[in-house]
């Protein structure tokens, strides 16, 4: 800014303060940007999040094959799965499926190798609690028979939607490029 001299400085001060006050006043009469979480949003925030949002992990035990791919993929070992073979029925039984959400870093590496998309992130993110212990999610109360993919496709109407959802999830995870045009639009 060029030197304006004594009176010029005074005039500049008056002008700039005047203009600045006008700018701030125009903000005073505008609508605030703030979204008032959690109780004054039009929709639940969880419902507005994208499909691939990495919230708290969830397992659909009905379609879990017990392959332990997620346990092996987890870089911080927050997933623990115990699978035993039932001697009489010759079925695989899962006796334990624990995910420690306190350790989980929401990287999503567990849901990528899952063959059925049984393990996936939900849009749920409100996990605060008074103890770390309560953040360990124990999915299995009593032993569960693992899921076996059927030849010729699934036909059980109860399992079918879960499987569809799981496969869609895995596919979207495997190829996030599929969403690319939209992402570019947003950036532009």
């Amino acid at each position: 800014m060029k030197h304006r001299g004594y009176l010029g400085n005074i005039v500049d001060t008056a002008k700039t303060v005047f203009e600045g006050m006008a700018v701030t006043f125009s903000h005073l009469i505008r609508k605030p940007f703030t979204i008032q979480y959690p109780d004054r949003t039009a929709l639940r925030v969880q419902d507005t999040l994208p499909f691939r949002y990495r919230g708290i992990l969830e397992v659909d035990l009905e379609i879990c094959t017990g392959c332990l791919a997620c346990e092996r993929a987890c870089p911080i070992d927050c997933i623990v799965i115990d699978v035993v073979k039932d001697k009489q029925t010759r079925e695989m039984l899962m006796t334990r499926f624990d995910i420690d959400m306190a350790k989980c870093m929401y990287c999503g590496l567990c849901s990528e190798p899952c063959p059925t998309g049984a393990i996936h992130h939900t849009p749920e993110f409100e996990g605060s609690d008074y103890s770390l212990e309560s953040l360990i999610r124990r999915f299995i109360k009593e032993p569960v028979v693992t899921y076996k993919p059927k030849k010729g496709g699934e036909d059980d109407p109860e399992i079918l939607p879960l499987l569809d959802r799981g496969m869609r999830y895995v596919e979207e995870f495997a190829s996030p490029e599929g969403k690319k045009p939209e992402a570019e639009e947003e950036a532009a």
């Binding site: 006050m21 701030t24 125009s26 009469i29 605030p32």
Partner: protein, 399 residues
């Protein structure tokens, strides 16, 4: 006040007690009532108002959860601070550290003695009223310096010293801007100054002549600086000094400093209103003493609270000055201009001893024109933001 106590004495209420003791007792009781009922609430609610106004200017919402629209936020904050431990650092100068907040508080509450809320609503109409306000406000600097020194902390000390330098410097333009008004009225009494003005804007001292108009802005600026308000809040500049002289304070003592700061904001507004804006003057509308007292109070309160809002708005607009800029503004600009105002007013009174009515009206028109142009600029800025979306008008103060 005195009549009321006299009537009580005549009715034989305080038999055997010296008259002066009764007066002093009455003063203390009345002062305590004013402090509890008015000062604390105004200061407290101001903190909430400031946070809401400031939030809206920054496109936020601000506290709106405690009570309707968050109006009880200040109570919640106050209760929290009162319940907190009152920590005194081991290395602190204990007596001074404990005493400092009271002195700051005294310096600000003391001004309420002479603030005229109506033609009858005043605790004491001293004949040195405005001088008393300046003098008792200067007590704040003692408390702040005390706090800065006693905390035994570098930030506190720098904050205290800065505050002392700032307040002492800005007392000069502040005082010099009062003088033109004193010249015009010939009295220092707050009530006398208000009575010399009229209810109509063209009878206010701000429009008395161009020099008082300039004096008004100088007074407001230097009053902000004296109250340690942004853009002159160097003594408690968070980015440099953590919290300046209040760094080591906690609990109720911390609360006192902030009570004094926000209460002082109202005092600034009230003094500005008294000196320049016609105080409680209203046109004659009713013969009822009570009703006119209420109207006068409302007028005075609205006028002075408007300047509190302006101070908040300035705080949201202007960045903090540097120390050298602060001093340059004071000594190179405000002080010389204030002197010019003083001499100019004196000269004006020689040329037009009865004042110059056409000039008053012209100045009022210029002021109104400026306000009009201001709102055109506001409309321009609002529209321009509208192009970039999220520029919706939202005039409701609620959220």
């Amino acid at each position: 006040m005195q009549e009321f106590l006299d009537s009580l004495i005549n009715q034989g209420y305080f038999a055997g007690v010296p008259r002066d003791v009764v007066y002093a007792g009455g003063m203390i009781v009345f002062g305590a009532i004013v402090v509890l009922v008015f000062v604390l609430n105004v200061a407290g609610v101001s903190t909430w108002v400031e946070r809401r106004v400031w939030a809206r200017i920054q496109s936020r919402v601000g506290p709106n959860r405690v009570g309707p629209q968050g109006i009880l936020q200040w109570l919640a904050d106050g209760i929290k601070l009162i319940m907190k431990e009152d920590v005194v650092p081991t290395a602190a100068d204990r007596p001074l550290f404990l005493l400092a907040p009271y002195i700051v508080m005294m310096g600000f509450v003391g001004t309420f003695v002479v603030l005229p809320f109506g033609s009858r609503l005043v605790i004491a109409d001293m004949n040195v009223g405005i001088l008393y306000v300046t003098a008792v406000t200067a007590l704040v600097v003692v408390g702040i310096l005390m706090a800065g020194w006693a905390s035994n902390n570098k930030w506190s000390l720098i904050g205290g010293i800065r505050s002392a330098a700032q307040i002492v410097s800005y007392e000069i333009p502040n005082g010099l801007s009062i003088f033109p008004i004193v010249l015009l009225t010939g009295t220092l009494s707050m009530q006398g100054i208000i009575k010399a003005q009229g209810w109509a804007p063209w009878n206010w001292f701000i429009f008395a002549n161009p020099f008082t108009f300039a004096a008004f802005f100088i007074f407001f600026t230097s009053a902000l600086a004296e109250g340690n308000r942004t853009p002159f809040d160097l003594p408690e500049a968070e980015s440099e000094l953590v919290a300046g002289f209040v760094t080591e304070y906690s609990g109720v003592r911390y609360l006192m400093f902030f009570m004094a700061e926000w209460g002082n904001l109202y005092v600034i507004g009230a003094v500005v209103t008294t000196l320049f804006l016609g105080g409680w003057q209203i046109p004659h509308v009713t013969d009822s003493v009570v009703l006119s007292a209420i109207l006068e109070f409302v007028t005075f309160f609205v006028k002075s609270y408007f300047w509190v809002l302006v101070a908040m708005w300035v705080r949201a607009t202007l960045p903090r000055t540097r120390v050298d800029q602060l001093m340059a503004v004071c000594w190179k600009y405000l002080v010389p201009i204030a002197f010019v105002n003083l001499l100019g007013t004196a000269a004006w009174m020689i040329v037009w001893p009865q004042g110059n009515r056409p000039v008053r009206f012209i100045m009022l028109l210029i002021a109104l024109g400026t306000v009009g142009y201001f709102f055109r600029r506001v409309a321009y800025h609002t529209r321009r933001a509208g192009v970039r979306a999220h520029g919706e008008l939202y005039l409701s103060p609620l959220s």
